[in-house]
């Protein structure tokens, strides 16, 4: 099997960056005045890899990030929540990159919204209540807002990193 060393090294760096983003975000519990809403800086790394490589590489980076962050700062439950949101948003973003001609901004917005919806659905399953749908509008709007920011940052990053 031929190993692409350059790619391997690059994915390692991206994973490390994603983990640091996760750590930085864990220091800020309240963002935009809404507890629990995060910018999702790690999504920058995932979207970047998804855009440049394939779903396989993005999934690897994302899984490593979630496991490391989960074991350092979270618990088993937070790992499950994170995987649900990350998996749903990653698949939706990949489909949009393949099937539509949307720019990274539009793709990132879809990713942000589906990430939040995925997590909310898991919360509702675990807590066995539908009353959490109360938060859906807030989470959709914050998904759009954070998606736009992350999409823009990813676009600018992609322009500047050439391999």
């Amino acid at each position: 099997m031929k190993v692409d060393n350059k790619k391997l090294a690059f994915l390692g760096i991206v994973s490390a960056v994603a983990i640091i983003f996760g750590y930085v975000e864990s220091l800020v519990p309240v963002f935009m005045g809404i507890p629990g809403v995060k910018l999702g800086l790690a999504n920058l790394a995932v979207l970047f890899v998804l855009h440049r490589y394939t779903l396989k590489e993005a999934a690897a980076v994302s899984l490593i990030r979630i496991l490391v962050i989960g074991f350092m700062f979270g618990n088993m439950m937070s790992i499950i929540y994170s995987i649900a949101g990350a998996a749903l948003s990653m698949i939706v973003m990949k489909l949009m990159l393949m099937k539509t001609d949307f720019s990274l901004l539009g793709v990132s917005v879809a990713g942000g919204v589906t990430h939040n919806i995925g997590q909310l659905l898991i919360y509702m399953c675990i807590m066995e209540t539908t009353s959490l749908s109360y938060y859906a509008p807030v989470l959709i709007v914050s998904g759009v807002a954070t998606g736009l920011v992350i999409g823009y940052l990813t676009q600018e990053t992609s322009k500047r990193i050439h391999l």
């Binding site: 507890p35 901004l105 539009g106 209540t129 859906a136 759009v144 736009l148």
Partner: protein, 122 residues
């Protein structure tokens, strides 16, 4: 950003807006009490008119003060439920995910006979 994407974002925001609007319409004008739910089951219902501290199992402590309820203590690491602040008779929700605790406004206005304001107007 393309026109299509702007439209896409507008549609998403519209869905959120309509969802929020429907929620606001369904909401009664005021809540007199709150219900605490732990792990999907009702833990208890408490009146907002009475100042009290509520110990929720050994994990969280909620406090009702001046008609407002807030979470004042939790044993989870992130304390997001405490940051969620207080809500009163306008309704709202406090959620502690790690301990699976939900505090939400309960509709008691449907009960006839305790509508003091109407009596004064008459």
């Amino acid at each position: 950003m393309k026109k299509k994407e702007v439209l896409f974002i507008c549609i998403i925001l519209l869905i959120a807006g309509v969802w929020w609007g429907v929620q606001q319409m369904q909401k009664p004008e005021s809540y007199k009490s709150v219900t605490i739910i732990v792990k999907g089951e009702v833990f208890g219902t408490y009146s907002l008119e009475e100042d009290q501290g509520i110990e929720i199992n050994d994990t969280n402590i909620a406090e009702i003060k001046d008609g407002q309820i807030s979470m004042i203590s939790a044993n989870c690491p992130d304390h997001l439920c405490i940051y969620q602040g207080a809500f009163g008779e306008r309704g709202g929700m406090i959620v502690c995910l790690p301990n699976e605790v939900i505090i939400r406004g309960e509709d008691m206005t449907a009960e006839p006979g305790d509508d003091g304001i109407d009596a004064v107007v008459r």
